[in-house]
């Protein structure tokens, strides 16, 4: 019960934050990608800058508390990222954003959401049937 409530709360915080930042607006995302408005780009970069010492401190003082995922480089790293970027620019949504958009009442994002699930499924099928790429990790989540 506690785990369920915490999960819900973190999701809520994340969705609320993304919405207030403007990440759920197709127009804002587009303006970010064509460098017409640097606000969200700077926000993202500053967030990374803040997270560098925060993560290092976390690992130093609370080792083992969180199993951090390492994401090895493999054949799909660049290509997968590249495909994702095209999809993000077209739909205005990364995986979390489609959900925020639906919550905001931008119901067309349900199509994006369905597409994300379908695309994830499709990759699993393609990997199983044709690619057999070694991603360098047994952990997918």
């Amino acid at each position: 019960m506690k785990a369920a409530l915490s999960t819900l709360a973190v999701g809520l915080l994340f969705g609320l934050g993304l919405s207030c930042i403007g990440f759920s607006s197709w127009d804002e995302v587009h303006r970010m990608f064509v460098f017409a408005d640097l606000r969200m780009l700077l926000a993202f970069m500053l967030a990374v800058v803040v997270l560098v010492p925060a993560t290092a401190a976390w690992k130093r003082w609370m080792p083992g508390r969180v199993k951090f995922r390492t994401r090895p480089t493999h054949k799909g790293t660049l290509l997968g990222g590249a495909l994702f970027g095209v999809g993000w620019a077209l739909s205005g949504a990364c995986p979390a954003i489609a959900l925020v958009q639906v919550g905001e009442g931008q119901l067309a994002a349900l199509l994006t959401l369905g597409g994300i699930f379908a695309g994830n499924w499709l990759y699993a099928a393609v990997q199983q049937r044709y690619l057999h790429w070694d991603t360098g990790s047994c952990i997918d989540e």
Partner: protein, 200 residues
């Protein structure tokens, strides 16, 4: 539309992974939850398949499996566990946890829209540019959204992460794969968006 300033936005973006680590003790990433849900559909599992184990239980189970595979003779006296790095098997989140997280994100969008007083659900995107680019035909917009979504789902699973896992967390841990993936998705996002300007 009034949005947070860049530095406020940055603090929000940085705070969310930290809160997740603190409350959920789980590495932060959204596309992985899609993967978990899809895998659950592709091959359902039961909780008994993957019990939670503490360090002593895990080592006992592994010793039993070792004896079964290689014979009792390979077993030595158990080593003293390292208290600084306890090894445990944590049961994977059940599917409903991922749905709860997703529901929370959507609820966050709802609360934000209500607070701004512009919660007007429509079957569209609240976007002027998208309408100007793709609004001419009633099928083009939906097609772009579905197609874009498929690329997002396919690409993030192939790359093993998205904006949160690779972009925020992986990059701030200087992981080479995350850096490459992030450069790739920002790069093609920029190129695609400039190409879309031609539709205006």
């Amino acid at each position: 539309m009034h949005y947070l300033a860049f530095w406020q936005s940055a603090l929000v973006l940085a705070a969310v992974p930290l809160v997740q680590w603190l409350w959920l003790r789980r590495s932060f990433g959204v596309s992985g939850r899609y993967t978990a849900l899809v895998d659950e559909l592709r091959s359902p599992r039961s909780a008994e398949d993957e019990p939670e184990m503490n360090e002593a239980e895990l080592i006992a189970a592994m010793r039993a499996a070792t004896a079964e595979a290689f014979g009792e003779s390979v077993l030595e006296a158990p080593a003293a566990p390292d208290p600084a790095a306890p090894v445990v098997l944590r049961a994977a989140d059940p599917a409903y946890m991922h749905w709860l997280f997703f529901g929370g994100i959507a609820a966050g969008g709802l609360v934000s829209a209500l607070a701004r007083g512009n919660w007007t659900p429509t079957f569209g995107l609240h976007s002027e540019l998208f309408a100007r680019m793709f609004g001419a035909s009633p099928v083009l917009g939906p097609l772009v959204l579905v197609g874009g979504g498929v690329l997002v789902g396919f690409g993030t699973r192939m790359a093993g992460g998205c904006t949160s896992g690779h972009g925020l967390c992986g990059v701030s841990q200087f992981q080479r794969g995350s850096l490459l993936a992030t450069l790739a998705f920002f790069g093609t996002g920029v190129v695609t968006s400039f190409a879309l300007r031609g539709l205006l």
